[in-house]
């Protein structure tokens, strides 16, 4: 059953078109990884799903209802939560407060402060520290935890491993794997680490220049197909890189 349907959305940033007619379907409980080079439109797609960027055309259906023009906070209350690019924690508030805000304003469910701390044990000693002072990995854990606190049906995670040390990436993905394996919420993950995406996702989506170039199960593609789609090279002479 598909929980989220995106039909041919177009998003512009002022004069620049960031998404040129993107359609996709997300099934309940599945993990979808979005990959692609800088400027491919991944973040805009995530923001459009979360309601932070209202599309200029097209339609978004959530559990069959049209939410295209719904604003972000209403979507959070309806069951779509995002950990945005750059984490965007509230720097002068404590980790606990960061988590509580989403808990107070999101859906009710079994993701509570305790459960988030069980899933991300690295946050336990930091719970009353200011979010501004955390390291990259801690921030990411807090940001994902914050999104989980809203008890979403669809969890959107932008740039999961960007800027993290390998150890921190391992930690975050270990926690995410547990959530994935419960198969309760759908996850859409923007991930720069290609092999990580291929290993973690049920499906991958490769974007370039505001369009989906490749979509399907990781097993369906060769490494070259993915790398080419990644750099937006289509049947051109191979790049020098």
């Amino acid at each position: 059953m598909s929980v989220l349907n995106v039909n041919n959305i177009i998003c512009r940033h002022g004069l620049m078109t960031a998404l040129r007619g993107v359609s996709l379907e997300i099934h309940a409980g599945e993990v979808l990884c979005v990959i692609g080079a800088n400027g491919a439109g991944k973040t805009t797609l995530m923001r459009a799903l979360a309601g932070a960027h209202i599309p200029d055309a097209g339609q978004i259906l959530f559990q069959g209802r049209d939410i295209t023009r719904q604003n972000a906070h209403t979507r959070v209350r309806g069951g779509i939560a995002m950990s945005p690019e750059g984490r965007r924690l509230f720097a002068d508030m404590t980790v606990r407060e960061n988590l509580m805000i989403a808990g107070e304003n999101g859906q009710n469910g079994d993701w509570t402060l305790d459960r988030v701390l069980t899933a991300f044990p690295q946050l336990v000693p930091l719970i009353d520290k200011q979010a501004g002072g955390l390291s990259g990995g801690q921030r990411q854990a807090a940001a994902i935890g914050r999104a989980l606190m809203a008890n979403p049906d669809v969890l959107l995670l932008d740039e999961v491993s960007l800027g993290l040390s390998p150890a921190a990436v391992e930690g975050v993905y270990a926690s995410l794997a547990e959530i994935r394996d419960t198969r309760v919420m759908a996850m859409v993950i923007v991930e720069q680490d290609l092999s990580r995406s291929l290993a973690f996702a049920d499906r991958i989506l490769c974007m370039a220049e505001g369009e989906i170039k490749l979509a399907g199960s990781p097993a369906d593609f060769t490494k070259d197909q993915i790398t080419d789609a990644y750099f937006g090279i289509q049947n051109e002479a191979p790049a020098d890189v």
Binding site: L15, N38, Q192, L194, S195, D240
Partner: protein, 246 residues
């Protein structure tokens, strides 16, 4: 082509810039020789645009030193650096929206180029011609499309008669034909002796013009040198693609 005989023109030593606890620039050293063309690549949030801001004087740095043609310019404001010959473009174009294209370029020619009215008009007209904006000279900048705004960024920077031009992602969003024109323009600037530093995601465009490539990630320089060698560098591939797929 990090040839030692090239006189280093613009040099940044151990630049640091923090926003709160975020280190946008973490000990970045960078140099470009006179007449050289250097490309900068790196993932989002690598600090490329911050480096440009620091070099052009858009904000004070938290530490480090910048010299231009031997002068310490670390604490000079943007306008002084512009008058000395450093011009920049913005990644998201920032035209003066209340003015026409011609007026935008005129301001740069007069203020940054130090020209008086008549020569500035000639200079501005020439640059409008060169950047393909002449037909739009009297159009209000607010009415321009993205592509023309990017052209205007370049035109305005050129109007200040710079020694060195810092180009920030001017190729993004262009069609292949437009990209070819852009590459030709930048190549001609280089042929005329202008020093070029170019941030660009479109690698195949970049590689046609540059002598040297710098790759940044997380506010640091990962690798610098021959473009092909840099792109083969394991750190660089990891920063771009994560670990490469097996």
């Amino acid at each position: 082509m990090n040839s030692p005989d090239l006189q280093s023109h613009l040099v940044a030593r151990r630049l640091r810039k923090s926003y709160g606890s975020l280190k946008a620039l973490d000990d970045v050293s960078f140099h470009v020789g006179k007449g050289e063309a250097v490309g900068i690549v790196g993932p989002n949030g690598a600090g490329k645009t911050t480096l440009f801001g620091a070099l052009a004087g858009s904000f004070p740095v938290s530490g480090g030193q910048i010299t231009f043609a031997g002068d310490d310019i670390t604490h000079d404001p943007a306008e002084t650096r512009c008058a000395m010959g450093i011009a920049r473009t913005y990644q998201v174009p920032r035209p003066f929206l209340g003015m026409t294209v011609f007026e935008n370029v005129m301001v740069a020619a007069r203020a940054g180029g130090g020209l008086s009215a008549a020569p500035a008009t000639d200079h501005a007209a020439k640059i409008l011609e060169q950047t393909g904006l002449f037909a739009l000279a009297n159009t209000p900048a607010a009415a321009l499309g993205l592509l023309d705004r990017k052209r205007l960024e370049v035109a305005r920077a050129l109007a200040t008669s710079p020694d060195i031009i810092l180009l920030d992602e001017i190729g993004g969003g262009l069609t292949e034909a437009e990209l070819v024109q852009l590459i030709a323009l930048i190549q001609s600037l280089k042929d005329n002796g202008m020093t070029i530093v170019w941030i660009e995601h479109i690698l195949h465009a970049l590689i046609k013009v540059i002598d040297r490539l710098v790759c940044m990630a997380e506010g640091r320089v990962l690798a610098a040198g021959d473009p092909n060698a840099v792109m083969q560098n394991a750190d660089v591939r990891r920063a771009y693609l994560g670990s490469t797929p097996e």
